[in-house]
Symmetry: C2
């Protein structure tokens, strides 16, 4: 199964890159870096880095540059998990089968570790090793900030926290998920095209792929929350249900949600028709996000 | 008093710029932007923006560009205050004479508002309106991230939280303060030189000014914590003492701390000898940071 092998390979590469970018300093603030490493090393499916590297391959971008961008995006993803898990937010004790960062360290350290990961991500992108053309680096910084900021991920998390208090229909849930997870997945898929200065239609194809795949991913997530095996998923389940939050599953029912995720995955793969066999792993990934058990 | 007038003028300009950069969106995430505006509008001395604008004037940088950079730095400064005030950190109820962001809204909203301000700052810097040369924008992003990240402000806050548990001498306290406040003040003073592509010696002069002024500022802050008028300062006092934390005042005594702040302020101003009358307000600011009552 080439996708599984590719993800396993990438996990190793990603760990090495993150460990290299987050060296342990001397002094008392070493605790901060320890928490940043705890939150970002050895865990996760590394799906976003996978999208960056596979997108970059389409345009023959040097792997080292793609790895830096992938590490930056993964830092932002991991920071968002650390903050979302805090007692004041989702109050989760378990993440990836391990204590969450604030449980392993403490709340203050977790808040700062999240802040540190977010800040470090922009330092990595702006550094000359990411690309020789500063215009490309600026575009990466701008796009990541837009995807992760108030009009993207952070705004989505705010809307999610308020979701318990209001009635949401399909349009509202879709919009929330686009902000909370869709925008960062979108940037992950587009980053390779930015690095490779890809022609507009090819960049648009990746954007469209990311859009449909992101929604499929989120529907699959909602299904896992209801149907998943806690031992595999490695985090608390049935939280949305308990909180009375509208999800794709509560709105569509499990059966239609499955069908919708399948249709979106197929549609995502179809956007890749403009690419040749080099995009095969991305095609396979569209299936994986709906079939995954964790 | 020209400095007071300049600071008052700048406060208005800064408010307008921040309000323009943080427009209230539709939808439930409007609460997030409200909190971001609450944390950044109508408050503070705007010292960092002042340094940016005065530095930029030395090199005839367009005011609009300087205002954007100043707004980005102020967003980062304000985010750090919002997170530092959280119950898990310094647990402060009052800031600038008003309830802290988590008291006015709630903890989750405050965490996200901080995250949003930090992210937005990088979006602003990377945007083409900041400078026509992407190399300059990348340098601004990189320098801000380095100043605010684990080797700078966030690392300093971590060290500060751990300071209660360990003995600290002058070297350790100085290092902590350089990280926690010095680096961002340093970037504020240097930003104009980056925007204006200033010659190396002039940029170094501003850096040296910032270094001494930053330390003077911090010593004055420690003195205010002991000697200040709570009604003027607008935040809780005597917190370091209560926590048994080493400060410049506890290590030097009030008298020597005053003398040290004075000496550093004079030394800071002396670094500006390479500039003509255009640097007069910066010279005056070196006095202001040690004489201020808030």
């Amino acid at each position: 199964m080439p996708l599984a092998d590719a993800l396993a390979d990438l996990s190793r590469l990603m760990n090495d890159e993150l460990a290299r970018l987050l060296p342990l300093p001397e002094g008392s603030e070493a605790r901060l870096t320890e928490a940043m490493r705890y939150a970002s090393l050895d865990g996760g499916k590394r799906l976003r880095p996978f999208f960056v590297l596979q997108g970059a391959r389409l345009f023959n971008v040097a792997e080292q540059a793609a790895l830096r961008v992938a590490a930056a995006i993964e830092m932002v993803h991991c920071y968002s998990l650390v903050h979302d898990d805090l007692p004041a937010m989702d109050d989760d004790d378990l993440r990836r089968g391990r204590p969450t960062t604030h449980r392993r360290f403490d709340e203050a350290t977790a808040i700062l570790a999240g802040d540190g990961l977010l800040t470090k991500a922009f330092e990595v992108l702006a550094g000359p090793a990411t690309h020789s053309d500063p215009q490309v680096r600026c575009e990466l910084v701008w796009e990541l900030a837009a995807a992760a900021g108030p009009a993207g991920m952070v705004g989505g998390q705010m809307a999610d926290l308020l979701a318990e208090e209001r009635e949401m229909d399909m349009i509202a849930v879709t919009r929330l998920q686009q902000m909370k997870t869709g925008r960062l997945i979108g940037f992950s898929c587009e980053a390779g095209a930015i690095l490779g200065k890809a022609p507009h239609p090819q960049r648009q194809a990746l954007k469209a792929y990311a859009h449909d795949l992101g929604l499929a991913f989120q529907i699959a997530d909602d299904l896992l929350d209801v149907e998943g095996d806690p031992a595999l998923v490695g985090k608390g389940l049935h939280k949305d249900q308990a909180a009375g939050k509208a999800t794709f599953v509560s709105l569509l029912g499990a059966e239609r949600a499955h069908a919708q995720a399948e249709a979106l995955a197929a549609q995502a793969a179809a956007h890749l028709d403009v690419f040749d066999g080099k995009a095969d792993l991305l095609r396979e990934a569209a299936r994986y996000v709906v079939d995954r058990k964790l």
